[in-house]
């Protein structure tokens, strides 16, 4: 296997190695390491994937098998904010389709896309465990429930303003 030159910051590399150290086998840290990279760069580029693989003593192919398996690991760039609108049953019952249509219209994008200004990526998500406040969404790390179109507009407005 070829060795890749590191572009990840040294502290991040050290953190990944520390994660690997905690596990019985470095591979046990694969998800955590990818999450760490994603928390820095918002997504996992192929270059970063290769570097993480090398740190964890895995092949990039095996690691990509994990990166592409999980819903919350992004192998494509996302916007500054990610809105994950729940599409599971309770939210659906409570009208999430209408909210999705509203978001599509306001943002001018389909689920899976990013607004041209790079501010917001819209993604569907499975049940967020907020069913008693359906319809719900996760904006970055914050849970929002009992949504209606007004609440959505306010949310988008405030997200747009936050860098």
């Amino acid at each position: 296997m070829l060795t890749v030159e590191y572009t990840l910051p040294a502290e991040l590399r050290a953190d990944i190695l520390a994660l690997a150290q905690e596990e019985l086998h470095p591979q046990g840290a694969s998800v955590a390491a990818l999450q760490l990279v994603q928390s820095h760069f918002r997504w996992i580029s192929s270059q970063h994937l290769q570097e993480v693989a090398q740190l964890l003593d895995m092949s990039p192919d095996a690691l990509d098998g994990i990166a592409t398996y999980f819903n919350l690991l992004f192998r494509q760039p996302v916007g500054r904010h990610v809105i994950m609108l729940c599409d599971s049953v309770s939210c659906w019952l409570m009208g999430r389709d209408r909210l999705c249509a509203h978001l599509r219209q306001t943002l001018g994008i389909h689920p899976g896309e990013t607004t041209p200004d790079g501010a917001i990526t819209l993604l569907p998500t499975v049940c967020l465990g907020h069913c008693d406040h359906a319809p719900a969404l996760l904006a970055d790390e914050t849970l929002h429930g009992d949504l209606d179109t007004d609440a959505l507009d306010r949310l988008i407005g405030s997200l747009r303003e936050t860098p």
């Binding site: 905690e22 596990e23 019985l24 086998h25 591979q27 046990g28 840290a29 694969s30 998800v31 955590a32 990818l34 999450q35 964890l56 098998g65 994990i66 398996y69 999980f70 819903n71 919350l72 690991l73 994950m84 599409d87 599971s88 049953v89 309770s90 659906w92 019952l93 409570m94 009208g95 998500t125 499975v126 049940c127 967020l128 465990g129 907020h130 069913c131 008693d132 406040h133 359906a134 996760l138 790390e141 914050t142 849970l143």
Partner: protein
């Protein structure tokens, strides 16, 4: 709400931060751990839990004490063993574990100490779903505090028993909730289920003995150990012991979750606690325990929400969180939504699930869009039959997916035909 009637949630104050170690102790926390580590032998803890008839709250309802009894009896220091708290909670319509995780994470920590002590596991892991950001923060703090106070780490309370907890944040895949897939995920691999045997209790994480228990299951333990199995048994209304977190979502007046004696009748939960249907809506049917349980209709409202009764009624207690279908929402649309979820969350390992569920999804989609054909109903029924029986697919994901479909095909037969005869969904724009 008192600890005597609401052991799991008595310490939880809505919208307030969870109790810290001192507050937790003051409210009765840590008694069980102290008791177990100081005066009980591991086998005695297992015995208590067995006698309490505690059944797993993760969905399958397996007797917890019995599950532990299969773990090889070596001391924690002799053999690598793991205790895993299943906090993956991704079953649509389920929002009970989050309540416990956010509201009283130390209770889970204590439950884990007890379980680990019982099976003599030195390593604890909380497998937390990735979207649960607040629970992650609270749990991280709780674990850290417990560690500082000596509840976790080497030689706890001078008992010679050492145990620590590691928090694993998952990255989103429903199948990770299945215990063997969860173990595979912890190994940093693609989370596909594993065959049993060997059972995880014998060969689980990294080939070591592993027990996976649901968060709610574990949270019950401190109370069983403190108050005794008889007390716990007396909490339930029927054959099962303890309380259960029940929840209701859908078009009810007060969607939410409540800790109630296990075996509380469904009607009472929906009408008394959830306040009944919203004005203008009436109840059409419901999934009693999450997305992978079979539909029940009104006629089943008096069923006691315990494992045996719900099964007799033709469904499963599952996670105990009911999802209500109202009369103005299309049942086929609802099933389509569910099957979309199951198709997407199939791990892709076995053929029937991987390629059968998307087919089901498309057939339902066609019905909704008005391109359904009468043979499609037969095709759906065939899938329900072929995927519905455990043992045909590798794990219980596909049979779970078929539960709402198979029951829905019977219960909503007229709606299905109407979708074909009327070339589309009669209720589509009504909702």
């Amino acid at each position: 709400m008192t600890a005597a009637t609401h052991p799991l949630t008595a310490m939880i104050t809505p919208a307030a931060p969870p109790p810290d170690c001192a507050a937790y102790e003051q409210a009765g926390g840590w008694q069980a751990a102290r008791k177990a580590l100081k005066i009980l032998a591991p086998a005695e803890v297992i015995d208590m839990v067995t006698r309490s008839k505690l059944r797993g709250r993760g969905g399958a309802g397996f007797a917890t004490g019995q599950k532990w009894s299969f773990v090889p009896k070596n001391a924690a220091s002799e053999r690598r063993k793991y205790l895993v708290a299943n906090a993956d909670e991704m079953e649509p319509g389920t929002f009970k574990d989050r309540w416990l995780l956010e509201g009283n994470p130390l209770q889970l920590v204590e439950g884990m100490i007890l379980a680990a002590y019982a099976i003599q596991a030195g390593h604890g892991i909380v497998f937390l779903r990735g979207e649960y950001h607040l629970p992650r923060k609270r749990l991280t703090d709780a674990i850290e505090e417990a560690r500082q106070k000596g509840w976790l780490g080497e030689n706890i309370l001078g008992s010679g028993f050492s145990f620590d907890i590691h928090l694993h944040s998952s990255a989103g895949r429903y199948i990770c909730g299945e215990e063997t897939a969860l173990i595979t995920a912890l190994e940093g691999k693609r989370a596909t289920p594993r065959s049993k045997p060997p059972f995880p209790q014998f060969s689980g994480l990294w080939g070591a003995s592993t027990v996976v228990n649901n968060v709610e299951t574990l949270c019950n333990l401190p109370h069983i150990v403190t108050n005794g199995p008889e007390w716990f048994l007396s909490l339930g209304m029927g054959a099962d012991g303890g309380t259960k977190l029940y929840g209701v979502s859908g078009r009810v007046r007060r969607p939410g979750a409540w800790e109630l004696p296990i075996g509380t009748p469904l009607r009472q939960i929906i009408e008394d606690h959830a306040g009944g249907m919203l004005p203008g809506y009436s109840l059409r049917a419901l999934l009693p325990g999450g997305a992978s349980t079979a539909f029940l209709d009104e006629s089943a409202l008096d069923v006691a929400m315990d494992y045996g009764s719900v099964e007799k009624a033709g469904s499963r207690l599952g996670t105990g969180t009911a999802i209500i279908l109202d009369d103005r929402t299309c049942p086929i649309g609802m099933i389509l939504n569910l099957e979309h979820f199951f198709a997407q969350e199939s791990c892709g390992w076995c053929t029937p699930c991987r390629d059968g569920l998307p087919w089901v999804e498309r057939l339902l989609g066609a019905l909704e869009e008005g391109t359904g054909e009468s043979e499609d109903l037969e095709e759906l029924a065939r899938h329900a039959r072929m995927l519905g029986t455990p043992g045909r697919t590798f794990c219980a994901h596909a049979p779970g997916a078929m539960a709402p479909l198979a029951s829905g095909l019977k219960l909503f037969a007229d709606d299905f035909s109407a979708h074909i005869s009327q070339r589309g969904c009669p209720l589509r724009h009504a909702a």
